[in-house]
């Protein structure tokens, strides 16, 4: 399932992910490589973690504080395995092992184990201090050399320092040999802690933003009371309220109709966002969510790449072609058509839209069409409507105030397939010149 960065931004995924903040280096790497390839098991883990954090907040705070101190150690592990580790590598590993002592009792059920034997190699005198040096106590030879060094004259210095380094090098190789049998365990712990960190970050995000763990499976997309955090933030900033959306899609075509500016695009985007988040193993923004396995998401007619000498309509048809071909090939895709064929004359446009709806009815995929053409909805398996402008509006508004008077509730159609013709009202509300309004009304008659 590949969506471009631009699309992820548009549908609101990028906005949500900004709040995903792991603390350890490996956790951060997992976040960077996040992809929609999660499994049911991942979501199960997420649910469990959310419950765990809620019931034991102090414990998970303590774990988090410890994870913030983690540093990248895979390079040092590799150097030990190759026998080329430096004092700095030993320092990093010793510090990690000490941190492990703090973390292990807090995280034992996640498979994190302390490694006292490995720590002993790097801390033979059990100081438990996070510094590293090659102690004189490791080798009698070393002690002798260092004593000589302390009283050496300037001329003798260079030679004695060289002897010291030779002995230190020998000891380093020895330490590498001893540590080698523990490197696998060290590595495992590091990875496990990183994964734990990432899982905690996902859970924290869900708990802080009110997201839920979706159910996976079946052959119906069910989203009750879903919201879009990105759009919601904008709406609330202007003093409005985001209207939660409830929608169910079976395989085949579903159509949403509604007036202009009625929020049809938001429905499409929010649906795409939640399906994508679920597939990434993240919680979704809804009161209830059942999401089947989807192979690809297509957003048809997003203001996208132009060029190739094609118009908006041409580009849209290209996207449409790609989507339908893939849907045939792979099955179980999510196809989201935003006002298909609006870029051409209404007669042909409506015909294209109707035909496409009919075509998609036969697919295994889930196709959702937002349209304001007449007579398209009746071709589909299901029809939703956005309520539209509230009746109470009368006076002239600015263009940026119309939204405040929209009823964005999405409802299954009550059988009446006609589209509310609100365009006229909107023109009047925005305050087009009266004479023009008059002329338009003439056309209606």
């Amino acid at each position: 399932m590949k969506l471009t960065a631009k699309q992820l931004n548009q549908i609101g995924v990028a906005f949500v992910l900004e709040g995903l903040a792991p603390d350890s280096p490996y956790g951060i790497e997992l976040r960077r490589t996040l992809a929609p390839d999660a499994s049911e098991y991942d979501l199960l883990q997420l649910g469990k973690m959310m419950a765990a954090i809620e019931s034991e907040p102090e414990r998970f705070d303590a774990i988090r504080r410890a994870l913030m101190l983690q540093r990248e150690i895979r390079g040092s592990i590799k150097n030990v395995e190759q026998g080329t580790a430096s004092d700095v590598d030993f320092f990093e590993l010793k510090r990690f092992l000490l941190q492990l002592n703090t973390l292990a009792p807090l995280t034992s059920e996640y498979g994190v184990t302390p490694l006292p034997a490995a720590l002993k190699i790097l801390d033979p005198n059990d100081t438990a201090v996070a510094t590293f040096s090659i102690e004189s106590s490791r080798s009698w030879e070393l002690e002798q050399i260092r004593n000589k060094k302390a009283t050496a004259s300037m001329d003798e210095r260079a030679e004695i320092a060289a002897m010291e380094e030779r002995e230190q090098r020998r000891i380093r190789a020895e330490i590498c040999n001893e540590l080698r049998e523990h490197t696998d365990a060290i590595y495992c712990n590091y990875i496990t802690l990183g994964r734990l960190d990432f899982l905690m970050a996902k859970a924290r995000l869900a708990l802080q933003t009110g997201a839920i763990v979706p159910q996976i499976g079946g052959d119906r997309i069910v989203l009750e009371g879903m919201t879009n955090p990105k759009v919601r933030a904008t709406v609330e900033k202007h003093g409005g309220e985001f209207c939660p959306i409830t929608i169910e899609l079976d395989r085949g075509s579903t159509v949403i109709t509604g007036a202009n500016m009625g929020g049809k695009t938001v429905v499409l985007h929010t649906l795409a966002m939640n399906v994508y988040l679920a597939h990434c193993g993240l919680a979704v923004y809804a009161k209830k969510a059942i999401i089947p396995k989807i192979n690809e998401i297509f957003l048809i007619h997003e203001q996208g790449e132009h060029g190739q000498g094609l118009s908006d309509f041409g580009m849209e048809m290209v996207q449409c072609k790609r989507a339908l071909e893939t849907a045939q090939r792979k099955g179980e895709c999510l196809l989201l058509f935003d006002e298909l064929a609006r870029g051409t004359n209404p007669f042909e446009g409506a015909a294209i839209a109707r035909a496409t709806v009919r075509y998609c009815n036969e697919l295994l995929s889930y196709a959702l069409f937002a349209t304001h053409f007449d007579d398209v909805a009746k071709e589909s398996r299901a029809h939703y409507q956005i309520a539209g402008l509230k009746k109470s509006v009368s006076e002239v508004l600015g263009a940026d105030e119309v939204w405040a008077h929209m009823d964005y509730t999405l409802k299954p159609s009550n059988g009446d397939d006609s589209i509310p013709h609100d365009a006229m009202t909107i023109c009047r509300l925005i305050g087009l010149p009266d004479e023009l309004i008059g002329q338009i009304e003439e056309q209606y008659r």
């Binding site: 540093r71 430096s86 004092d87 700095v88 030993f90 320092f91 990093e92 510094t131 590293f132 040096s133 260092r146 060094k149 302390a150 210095r157 260079a158 320092a161 010291e164 380094e165």
Partner: protein, 296 residues
């Protein structure tokens, strides 16, 4: 702070370290840029590396640790990266020679200094350069030592003038007056604020900013320009003297403390300016003590 390579800075460093350790003080040392190279790649001089005493805290790049001959204890690895690896904090468990390559950004330097004090250092010494003089700003440093030498340039007079200039910038006096804070172009601020003759400049003061003031023919009046501290003045010596001639003086919000100046009369190419009374000439011009690196 050295004015050039081979200014004898390392010699001064070694002397300071020695003096401090004999007083029983805990010293920490780091550098901006690389120092103490055994053989100077540019001019081929055998440069002495820095000699530290047991107990000194050092911040230098990872790759230089293997070249140092001190017995080391690794205290921490910072996130600061340099061309020679990450900056590592080390405690010297024995006396020895070490090469320094520390952080290059002033923010990183400030963090490092705090860490040194937290580790128990009494004094922090920073090996710096005039080309990086923002690292000497009062917010970071309490005092500055300026090192100059024959290697700076073959022209004795230019050497004296430039050294005097840097010393003067480092000893600019604190302004007692309030002024207009300049946002945008300096010349515009001066033109639009006819009644004021004190202007506070944020950030660096460059030739480009001063030139319009010198060249314009607006009515002559004395101007006081206030900068944060002496390290922010990046103007050239000639521009500065023209300013003075025009009645434009420079002041600072925070004074810097120049303790003394050292001179290396011997250049990298072997010339010796000692006999020409270089040191005495500088002593006459500069208000702080001037020492000959070789003798004193």
């Amino acid at each position: 702070m050295g004015m050039c390579k081979n200014a004898g800075k390392t010699t001064v460093l070694n002397a300071i370290l020695c003096a401090h350790s004999s007083e029983g003080l805990n010293v920490a040392i780091t550098s901006i840029g690389r120092d103490g190279e055994r053989v100077d790649i540019v001019t081929g001089t055998d440069k002495p590396p820095v000699f530290v005493k047991k107990g000194t805290f050092i911040a230098t790049a990872e790759q230089l640790l293997s070249k140092a001959d001190i017995t080391q204890r690794i205290m921490d690895v910072t996130d600061v990266s340099t061309p020679l690896g990450r900056v590592v904090l080390v405690e010297a468990l024995s006396d020895g020679f070490v090469e320094l390559a520390g952080p290059s950004m002033t923010g990183e330097l400030m963090d490092l200094i705090q860490r040194f004090y937290a580790m128990g250092a009494d004094k922090v010494i920073i090996d710096g350069a005039v080309s990086r003089r923002s690292s000497a700003q009062p917010a970071i440093c309490e005092a500055v030592i300026l090192c100059t030498g024959a290697s700076y340039c073959a022209d004795r007079n230019k050497l004296i003038e430039d050294t005097d200039y840097v010393a003067e910038l480092l000893t600019l006096k604190k302004s007692q007056r309030c002024g207009v804070i300049v946002s945008g172009e300096l010349i515009d601020a001066v033109r639009s604020n006819v009644d004021s003759n004190v202007f506070c400049v944020c950030g660096a003061l460059t030739d480009k900013m001063l030139r319009p003031l010198i060249e314009s023919n607006y009515p002559q009046k004395t101007l006081e320009l206030v900068v944060q501290d002496g390290s922010r003045v990046l103007a050239s010596r000639s521009t500065y003297s023209k300013c003075l001639a025009r009645g434009i003086s420079l002041w600072v919000q925070n004074e810097m403390k120049l303790i003394f100046v050292t001179v290396n009369p011997r250049s990298a190419t072997g010339e010796d300016m000692e006999g020409i009374g270089l040191i005495d000439a500088l002593r006459q011009r500069i208000n702080v003590p001037v020492y000959n690196v070789k003798e004193d």
